[in-house]
Symmetry: D2
Subunit: 359 residues, 4 copies
Amino acid sequence: MKKRVAILGATGAVGQEFIVSLKDHPWFEVTQLAASERSAGKKYIEAIRDPNSGIVKWQVGGDVPEYVRDMTVVSIDQVKTNELDLVFSAVESDAAREIETKFAKEVPVISTSSAYRYEEDVPILIPGINDDHVDLIETQKKNRNWKGYVLPLPNCTTTGLAITMKPLYENYGAKRVIMTSMQAISGAGRSPGVSALDVTDNLIPYIPKEENKVRIETAKILGKLKDGKIEPADIKVSCTCTRVPVIDGHTESVFVETSKPAKVEDVKHTIEEFSEHVSVQGLPSAPKDYLVVHKDPTRPQPRIDRELNDGMTTSIGRLEEDQIFDSGVKYVLFSHNKKMGSAKGAVLLAEMLYKKGKL
Amino acid sequence: MKKRVAILGATGAVGQEFIVSLKDHPWFEVTQLAASERSAGKKYIEAIRDPNSGIVKWQVGGDVPEYVRDMTVVSIDQVKTNELDLVFSAVESDAAREIETKFAKEVPVISTSSAYRYEEDVPILIPGINDDHVDLIETQKKNRNWKGYVLPLPNCTTTGLAITMKPLYENYGAKRVIMTSMQAISGAGRSPGVSALDVTDNLIPYIPKEENKVRIETAKILGKLKDGKIEPADIKVSCTCTRVPVIDGHTESVFVETSKPAKVEDVKHTIEEFSEHVSVQGLPSAPKDYLVVHKDPTRPQPRIDRELNDGMTTSIGRLEEDQIFDSGVKYVLFSHNKKMGSAKGAVLLAEMLYKKGKL
Amino acid sequence: MKKRVAILGATGAVGQEFIVSLKDHPWFEVTQLAASERSAGKKYIEAIRDPNSGIVKWQVGGDVPEYVRDMTVVSIDQVKTNELDLVFSAVESDAAREIETKFAKEVPVISTSSAYRYEEDVPILIPGINDDHVDLIETQKKNRNWKGYVLPLPNCTTTGLAITMKPLYENYGAKRVIMTSMQAISGAGRSPGVSALDVTDNLIPYIPKEENKVRIETAKILGKLKDGKIEPADIKVSCTCTRVPVIDGHTESVFVETSKPAKVEDVKHTIEEFSEHVSVQGLPSAPKDYLVVHKDPTRPQPRIDRELNDGMTTSIGRLEEDQIFDSGVKYVLFSHNKKMGSAKGAVLLAEMLYKKGKL
Amino acid sequence: MKKRVAILGATGAVGQEFIVSLKDHPWFEVTQLAASERSAGKKYIEAIRDPNSGIVKWQVGGDVPEYVRDMTVVSIDQVKTNELDLVFSAVESDAAREIETKFAKEVPVISTSSAYRYEEDVPILIPGINDDHVDLIETQKKNRNWKGYVLPLPNCTTTGLAITMKPLYENYGAKRVIMTSMQAISGAGRSPGVSALDVTDNLIPYIPKEENKVRIETAKILGKLKDGKIEPADIKVSCTCTRVPVIDGHTESVFVETSKPAKVEDVKHTIEEFSEHVSVQGLPSAPKDYLVVHKDPTRPQPRIDRELNDGMTTSIGRLEEDQIFDSGVKYVLFSHNKKMGSAKGAVLLAEMLYKKGKL
């Protein structure tokens, strides 16, 4: 029997990614699709149809999967939580917190919003990176007297940084991390998203609130769960986030001061070892390679590397020793903001929870 | 009487920028244009005409200035050094070193190539930043027994970094500088330059040899001239250079660990003071503002800021304290690689030399 | 004494273009700036400042001209028509018709909106092309019992087509015109304008309502004023309008079936003659060249040709005989949608009216 | 037993597309890979490795297929024709004609070059469009006394036009066709291909020789084979070809004067019927839909429609009656220049020949 799953915000861009990520899933079955009042009562295919032009607004590749075309969309209020095992929430509005709270009282919620990310009893989970933080779920349920729980994904810029830092931090320690991101325009969403007038032949060296999110989330994800709460990793993170004219996928230039000497070949080996034995291997949405270290100095490149393993692989390139610290490395990473950094990463998280018996 | 000037490599993109930068110049008069054998003997307008299509290959804005249209191009061998006070060399080929050597024996040479940059008796001058290094010219002439001398410009990625670091270094000290550049495609030249297939919806996290150049040149420029040689500044520089789909102008994300506490408002004031009193004020090619510090967090942006003062202003934005160091700041800079970082910057340098009586 | 001018919609992108186009104008003086209630009572510089970020939203090149910085913006209702000689309206909303009507009762109105374009007693004027249609103003005033009148600009895609067709139509006749446009993203405005996600590495073969506008307006502009109304030119126009990833300037590929034989050299000569003697020569905003015919087959190109004469020149290239008609030509044109096709074209129109004593 | 196939020019971009298109092919087996002397004797993976950087220059998506990695590349002179049933030639140099001649004496050659396109006894075949022209092969072999034959693909801009015109021409006749193309940068190849400086925020309204090719090839493809030669279709074609900043896929805006009345709904039906019954249905490389007619007026768009059926579907949109002719239609088409318009289209052609017993 598959777990019954609802997608909240199913008509938006992230909701559509969820629909694709859950197509023919071996363990999960999408049984309810919820969106705003405006869509309620319509078949999915009609709910995403532009009323004026008659155009189906399907924003991800390929066709609308058959399995959702005729499913009736309900309003978020109408979702039947008693017929659900899991909720994926792609609600981004200010209402996210209220909605997630309501559902988490009854059923597990995995969310792409930041509403709950910074609460003490809420872990920010990246499957393969901090699986042990799962135990905080019990504390959360107890604290809040909920039957379910809420698990927010990290910000999509944090994802790549935290994933690549994990093997470094564990093996070499990390005192300081300095990062400059070159983020894709799809990261800004679609309503209205980035204007072509702003980003053509241009870049914008500012993404509101992003830098602070990365700073806090990275330390939390790499932190230790102790006595029912997460002690953030003792890493100082500074970053500058920029928007560049790239459609999908975030590139990040990273400089790390390590605690122990870190020779390039060793670091490479460490990362590849980590990737090979990462916990998520074998899960339906896990990539063949969790992390890839490129020798080619021109890689990673967004247009080439975003396709790797359907966007679930994090790529590293330009790995070099950094001479300005007593010990340290520099590298460039690439992470797909709409795949591992969003809906499909959320599905991978659900798969890990399923395996752990948390659903 | 104006100084008589030759442009070597006058038909190429950088040569054309020289022609524009020297149009109607109050102190300099272009009396000789030199290029390859293929162009020799032709009028300039014919020399840049594509023989197959008949198209005039003028690669910079506006029309070919009247003053060069009918000037006869000579081969580099035919240049009459005895009728010259100054040579601007835009020769980029492997021949650059040999050519510069030949001319420097007779006459001052300002060059955009890297051929002589790392010689002990050759300063890398940025007017307004390290004018006192001019004195190394005498050592150079003596050492080499030349009548002239050679002055190479820095790499265009170094220019913005060295300019913005100068007031910081002088006032707060600088232990470590970590920089990620997002460089314009025009920086890679035109033969063949960056392919549209490589950089559309993409970025390339690697520019061969660039990072080492920036590291060495920045320390040299900010260094001290002592006992006939330059002692590099004691700054550790690490950088990652990337190519982004932007036509003109390099953006750099910079993190600086300072020696002394650096409050944002003080740093801003320091930079503005420096800009106001910079030595080049009043020179014909000097911008109204040498440095600008933006309050608007979305600035600098290449498409907006490249136009500022015809590309001669270096822009700073996102100036913030950086918490990960005991003291430090982070900022984003923008510098026009084809203006201040190239031909027009070279003309500004010539103006400084003129004022100092070195021409 | 300069004519007193108001700009309606002064805070928007088109309004800002008006402000730049009217800076230091020899005949016109901007005495009133009007915008929405939200801006009313503020100094101009404050009215365009983003309230959250404090950023001045100046969307055109250079700085906000001094002459408007401290001018107080009024609401459109507060504009004093009795202290005005002319109104430039950049109001694009549904309210355009109502607003233009109100003002035209008192004072001449030149508008960039389409509200009045298709009225029988309203000419669509392009200075230099159909100046004689100016006489329809009297009919309009009489019909409507207005003291002023309203003159709408054509759609920016019509402008280039009508300008280039004029000498062809007059000298060779034109039976059929087939045009495909490749239009700039700035043509779609800024609220929200074209999303970068839609137009990066892409083009969109559809611009709502555009094709019909071009069809009707071109025939009207090239038509004859007779007995108090315009008889549209007997030209069949068909077109497909597309949006391409170009920032400014519309390119159009045109095929014309002429009534008389049209040899390329003759047509070129005809166009150049027309340009040389065009009526607007000498007006303050008129370009040195009204029309340019390129020999270089790679021209016109948006990035190169948009700068020509500050965007007021219409460029023609690829002029060839078209063998598929008994007689005909094909060519590619370029017209700057934000300059000749918008505010600065409107100022040129005002200059023509001034000369004719219509203001 | 599979047919034994060689790829000439196997290391280039088109050669790489052939390798991907022939992977796991049910009927063809790549037994020889040929390239220039420089590559001869190397394993394929080494032959495409950059000698300086060590980087594997694989220019198409995904990884280098296993089946070619260790295959030894030979020089074109070393290809053993007696061990071959078919040659795919991706040689683009001036040598193409000589090479194709040499091979066609022994074995069938399918080529992406234009060397033989305009010979009287050489058909330009598009599978599904003019399959009956296959019979010209016998004439060709007899004329030239060859054991093999040569079949050139059309220019990639012709492909989409000829495919979409076929059902129109057959059912409604076509007097005149006027087309403006907006072609992808990948159409210009990679050595050096289009410079990013030329096409960023820009378009180029000229592609050398392209327009004449489209004109001649379209009439030839739609022509009739009679008495051992092809009588070109009596269609007048005029076109303007432009380059736009799109990576893959050519868009064409088409206006057709038909001989008979052509109502949009009928035309749509005609095209869909044609697509449904097209001869190539069922061939291994044939798309599910040969032609698609979009209702959505914003389609086709390169970035969305290039993915359709791996680039083998030709998309039509904006289908409307064109009022300027007595009868006619206008539409926009999209065709993938690197798939249906190149290597994979060549494989589809080979499949048709196989089925017809011509291999």
